[in-house]
Amino acid sequence: MSEKIGVYVCHCGTNIAGTVDVKGVAEWAAEHLKHRGVVIGRDYKFMCSSLGQELVENDIKELGLTRVIVAACSPHLHEKTFRTACERAGLNPYLCEMVSIREQVSWVHTDKVAATEKSKAAISGGVERVIHNEPLEPIQVPIHADTLVVGGGIAGIQAALEIADAGYHVCLVEREPSIGGHMAQFDKTFPTLDCAACILTPKMVEVGAHPNITLLTWSEVEKVDGFVGNFKATIRKKASYVNTDSCTGCGICWEKCPKKVVDDVFEAGMGIRKAIYRPFAQAVPKYPVMDVENCTYFKNSKCKACQLFCPTEPNSINFEQKDEILEVQAGNIILATGYDLFDATRIPQYGYGKLPNVFTSLEFERMCNAAGPTEGKIVLRDMKTAPKSVVVVHCVGSRDENYNKYCSSICCMQSLKFAHLVMERTGAEVYNCYIDIRTPSKDYEEFYKRVLEEGGHFIRGKVAEITDAARIPEEEGKLIVQVEDTLIGKQRRIPVDMVILSAGLEPRHDAKEVGKLFGIACGASGWYTERHPKLDPVATMTDGVYIAGCVQGPKDIPASVVQGAAAAARVLGKIQQGVISLEPIRASINKDQCSGCRICNGLCPFNAIAYIEDDNVSDINPALCQGCGTCVAACPAGAISGTGFSNEQIIAQIDGLLLRNLEPAGV
């Protein structure tokens, strides 16, 4: 045995020493594991103190230790501490292993003898394992300075601007004809009630004009290859049938277009657009797109009114245009694809879709908007009668075991905003039916107070049913909202003219498939999973892919902006590094042993394993590999080895833990 191993046993005050005979364990290791290469066994009061670390450093220098075992707390606490100490003394940090005898021994057992024996076994296992450790170097990957931002809502806009302003190039991809996202549909924003368009439009214009931003609207990412620092995205730029080089966005084409279409996207079904359209006046870019499914020409080869009337030279309408496939290189990716509104027809007892005067929150937003279908007038579905009484139903599709268990977080404030707008513009009585009022941000509670003072009624209870089945003459012709007022303990039937359903937020219907594209996962509720819910909320488990805004979970505009900026900061940090170091815990394939069976290919969730047809072997991309080791365990030829977690290491540790190493070898 050529290794020289030092074993250090920590007292951790009395945390370990109170239950484990630390001195005895250190001496046992020095004596009984001597034949395995242990040259020194020490115990010390606090190994993590600078004196404790010096102990290790000195022994490395003076005794020429080649391996270090520290038996102390959990490696999640101090592995980095001791590995750094070893590095300072000139030993490769990956030749140091920790053995947990605090969290896994002294804190969970009371029997001193058993605890001491278990500590010995644990150290024996650690010693056997560390013998097989190899010196490792972090993997260095250069970073492409461009960034791909997917989703042009407020989160994506913020992220793109931050990065572009810092001097780096951004490619912003948006599925719809214009950026702006849901925020562009809103009228007022809580709690300050400034108009959404007033604060959003300048940012949209800035994106459109920024020299560092390539804006690809009406486009979708179809494929992502590569890994952190070196992504390659394949993007489909759908044909808009409009030549943007010559188009001035004058609007004559959609004025002349004879085909009216209900706008289910931007106007939430409340308004009409044409077959060739720009979703709203402030759209960025300003160019219209053609809706092929509704265009008369595409249906029966007649019309071409848009082309006929297009005043530009050359004509900007091009019916021959085809989808373009673009390839974009990027070092980092930010996903900010937003949310879908909960489909209120899924709760039939609320009558949405059947009872005309039941509106969704998004419909009401469009109605409030001065540029919307009613020019800001709050009216019933007949488009003329102002309501005299309105119920706002909170938590529609949220906090409900049958639909979504989570709180959609924005609906309370949104409902309060609706209550305020209805009272201000119509003078109607407004009832808010809520489960709890949640107003936990700056100036939010004050806004709630304000709505209370303005005379909004608040009923604490979940609405059971909304019906037009009257029971008494006063209910005739009204919508009756059946709700239990839990504060007075009574069932109430409130006859009103209009009901607004504050529908919750849901992950995009295609979030799962899109997540797969980028190699990130959805949690139980369908939102993308962050690397850490508190300490790393914008990174994901896939290096180089970040999330911002509602893709990570429901949030309001300020929180989305914060995340967009945070993701941008993380990306800028990575770009500034130029290269990044990755933990060297990776799997690799010995090509001589690989039979090309491809069993491992399908097992990797990160698409890190590719089959090289010419050589008839598989190969692992170390920058994509996350080091889970599943392929190592699966390889029938034993051709895959895992650095830092090799078969040899684990088998040796098993034998060590079972104290097989105490018998003289070979007998």
């Binding site: 959990s74 490696p75 999640h76 947990s100 605090r102 969290e103 896994q104 021994v105 804190w107 969970v108 057992h109 009371t110 029997d111 003898v113 058993a114 605890a115 024996e117 278990k118 076994a121 644990a122 296992g125 996962a521 949690g523 139980a524 488990m541 815990i585 069976c597 069993i599 399908g602 097992l603 969730p605 990160f606 996350q626 080091g627 889970c628 080791g629 599943t630 190592v632 365990a633 699966a634 390889c635 029938p636 034993g638 895992g642 977690f645 078969n647 684990i650 088998i651 540790q653 098993i654 034998d655 833990l657 079972l658 104290l659 097989r660």
Partner: protein, 164 residues
């Protein structure tokens, strides 16, 4: 020490959930049976069934495999692969004449220290009831291991793998 049989058990944990559950059991000072000795891997998907056989043939009376709950895997879905291997491994064990109950699979999230502790204690009691395994305690241990390796390690791990 009492006369009752004290089993030796090897526990495999993943780095992200179940090892942290064990950490949490520690920081919360929960008490559980001291018979399980842990090995930390990055993921339960790393678990080569050979490791389990190796542990059992080297003197362990039982093996506890732990990982993140389905759907919560740090590596997206590798714990499902651990589950598949576990189910097949139990069949192989039965074929070798070993009680499949000697190998247990426990999901424990990083927040489930209590679960980790109670499952550990329960497993120790289960193994205590089964009694010692005594595989590998005979002189021809090496022979046994060679048998296992030639019959299980080289060939059938491919058979154990269900295509994804």
């Amino acid at each position: 020490m009492s006369e009752q049989f004290e089993p030796t058990i090897i526990g495999f944990t993943c780095n992200w959930c179940s090892y942290r559950a064990a950490d949490l059991a520690g920081t919360s000072r929960m008490k559980y049976a001291p018979n399980v000795r842990l090995i930390r891997m990055m993921c339960s998907g790393r678990l080569d069934p050979t490791f389990v056989l190796r542990a059992l043939s080297s003197g362990a009376d039982g093996v506890m495999i732990t990982g993140c709950h389905p759907g919560e895997c740090h590596y997206i879905e590798q714990n499902y692969k651990a589950l598949r291997r576990f189910l097949l491994l139990r069949r192989v064990l039965a074929g070798l004449g070993i009680e499949p109950e000697r190998v247990k699979l426990v999901w424990a999230s990083a927040a489930e220290g209590a679960r980790f502790a109670s499952e550990t204690t329960a497993f120790v009691e289960e193994i205590r009831k089964l009694g010692p395994l005594n595989w590998g305690k005979t002189d021809d241990r090496q022979q046994t291991m060679d048998d296992v390796e030639s019959s299980v390690v080289n060939r059938p791990s491919s058979e154990m793998e269900v295509p994804a």
